[in-house]
């Protein structure tokens, strides 16, 4: 059978199977009085259509926060990674604090941020930034210091300037590492924005995101709408991750081994 067709068909089949199992579980395993805990897929779909305008504007708000936080993380992490790549001593000095940034629970940071910048987009962006920053900085730095020794020597022999060595050699050879960090950060960005929105978002009319909706729907016990919100958040994650996968393909497929065609 055509391999290409199979790679499209199989996920569809697995999805269909899971929906069937979902219905079976709901109707034959759950007691009648507990069935409301697991809404049927068709109920979720109905909620999705019914709440579409609300979900759409919330998604736009969350996407804005996610994109801004993600972009900020990419720009700042790249700059910091360039600095960190200069010497092991600089890295030794900064790494513990980078770890601290990553290990501090967002739930604790949220009220501090609300006090500092107020609830709303700014807080959401900062929280997204904090969640995305670490994997980006660590991967990009690792890439910048993993340049092939022989190539560095070649550049030194060619009397390359420090800037030439960085931008013609170290940065391009760090791209595969950078994109590894970018993929991780891209899946984290929408989650960060939703979490940020839930804890530090602005609830004023039309400014709430998916995190805010989550809190509303769970308070109102609207389970189908809650599931619909989860689905939309998941979809947003796919858009982010998919974009990065496409960018990575454009940047690397010509030359990097990870895109080498495997002839079976």
């Amino acid at each position: 059978m055509n391999r290409r067709l199979l790679t499209i068909l199989l996920p569809v089949l697995v999805g269909a199977l899971m929906i069937v199992l979902w219905y079976i579980f709901r109707l034959h395993v759950l007691d009648t009085d507990r069935r409301f805990l697991l809404p049927a897929p068709d109920a979720i779909l109905r909620a999705l259509i019914e709440k579409a305008p609300t979900l759409w504007s919330a998604t736009l708000n969350t996407a804005t926060g996610a994109l801004l936080g993600f972009g900020l993380a990419v720009a700042l992490s790249f700059t910091l990674a360039l600095g960190l790549s200069l010497s092991p001593l600089i890295r030794a000095g900064f790494y513990p604090y980078l770890m601290m940034l990553q290990l501090t629970p967002i739930i604790v940071l949220a009220p501090i941020l609300i006090l500092w910048v107020g609830p709303g987009l700014k807080s959401v962006v900062i929280i997204t930034f904090l969640i995305c920053f670490f994997p980006l900085v660590v991967n990009t730095t690792q890439g910048l210091i993993s340049t092939d020794r022989n190539l560095v020597e070649l550049f030194r022999m060619g009397r390359a300037s420090r800037l030439q060595e960085i931008f013609l050699l170290r940065v391009p050879s760090a791209l595969p590492y950078f994109f590894t960090g970018l993929r991780i950060a891209a899946t984290l960005a929408p989650i960060g924005a939703i979490v940020g929105d839930a804890y530090a978002g602005n609830s004023a009319g039309g400014q709430g995101g998916l995190g805010f909706l989550t809190i509303i729907y769970s308070a109102q016990f609207q389970l189908p709408a809650l599931f619909a919100t989860a689905a939309v958040g998941c979809l947003l994650g796919f858009v982010f991750a998919g974009t990065v996968v496409a960018l990575s393909w454009f940047a690397l497929h010509h030359w990097h081994d990870s895109y080498q065609r495997k002839d079976l």
């Binding site: 092939d148 022989n150 190539l151 020597e153 070649l154 550049f155 030194r156 022999m157 060619g158 009397r159 390359a160 030439q164 013609l168 050699l169 391009p172 050879s173 791209l175 010509h254 030359w255 990097h256 081994d257 080498q260």
Partner: protein, 262 residues
């Protein structure tokens, strides 16, 4: 009759790394413009280090080294190095790889293009100009590496076992190409190798080094006439010299033979 001044001259040179023992000791050696000098010897005899000293990649501890009658500290510009590995930038096409050294020195684009075209033709890679390194064979990658070195129009070319990883047929072929290019360009070459046959085929002089510490054990002049071609390898003169140098190399080889258990 006045000799031209040597392009490379070592006087009683010593090299050690850190506080370790001497890697090279008492090296006195000079090469005149146009010579092709091969360095051969057992592992650890410091032949690669000798090359790196000339390249200015590592400093000398004692003695003197002058290049074009300048010290290496001033780094003469027309010196090119070919590494053991092709050392190509995988994200650049063959053309961009060849011109990368010119880019580093801000050579104007039209000059860069002309020189690169010339080198592509010289190593016979014109049809592959737009290919990426991963699409090339080992021999083709090495040709790119050599073409890149030659864009600098060096008067001194340093080659650190450039064909060591290639199969014998490709290696022979590249040896012949290298001599053909030299006929047109007249650089001086220092060539590190493990292969006696290769050293004899290419060089007008072979330096046999011994290890612990690295020192010059023998110097052999190879007086076979140039141009040398595939046919040269069949001549008795050539084969006799390969045998001679092999014996000299054997005499400095310190690794004991492994005897079967008694």
């Amino acid at each position: 009759m006045s000799q031209p001044p040597p392009i490379v001259e070592f006087k009683d040179a010593t090299k050690r790394f850190g506080d370790g023992p001497s890697v090279l000791s008492g090296i006195t050696l000079s090469a005149s413009p146009g010579e092709f000098v091969s360095l051969i010897g057992p592992s650890g005899c410091g032949k690669s280090t000798l090359l790196r000293l000339i390249a200015g990649l590592t400093p000398l501890n004692d003695g003197q080294l002058s290049i074009n009658l300048q010290t290496v500290a001033h780094k003469s510009g027309d010196l090119a190095f070919v590494f053991q590995e092709p050392t190509l930038l995988p994200w650049l096409t063959v053309r961009r790889n060849i011109e990368v050294m010119l880019r580093l020195r801000h050579t104007p684009a039209d000059q860069r293009r002309a020189l690169t075209d010339q080198m592509l033709a010289l190593v016979g890679l014109e049809p592959f100009a737009a290919h990426y390194p991963r699409q090339l064979s080992g021999g083709q990658k090495m040709r790119v590496s050599i073409a890149r070195a030659l864009t600098l129009q060096p008067s001194l070319l340093l080659l650190d076992e450039p064909f060591g990883a290639l199969d014998e047929m490709t290696r022979d072929r590249l040896n012949e190409e290298l001599l053909a290019i030299r006929d047109r360009q007249h650089w001086t070459a220092f060539f590190v190798t493990h292969s006696v046959a290769e050293a004899v085929f290419l060089s007008n002089r072979i330096i046999v080094l011994a290890a612990n510490p690295g020192r010059i054990a023998h110097e052999v002049t190879v007086d076979l006439p140039y141009p040398r071609t595939a046919e040269t390898r069949l001549s008795t003169d050539y084969l006799k010299r390969v045998a001679d140098v092999s014996l000299l190399l054997r005499s400095v080889e310190t690794t004991p033979l492994i005897h079967p258990a008694a």
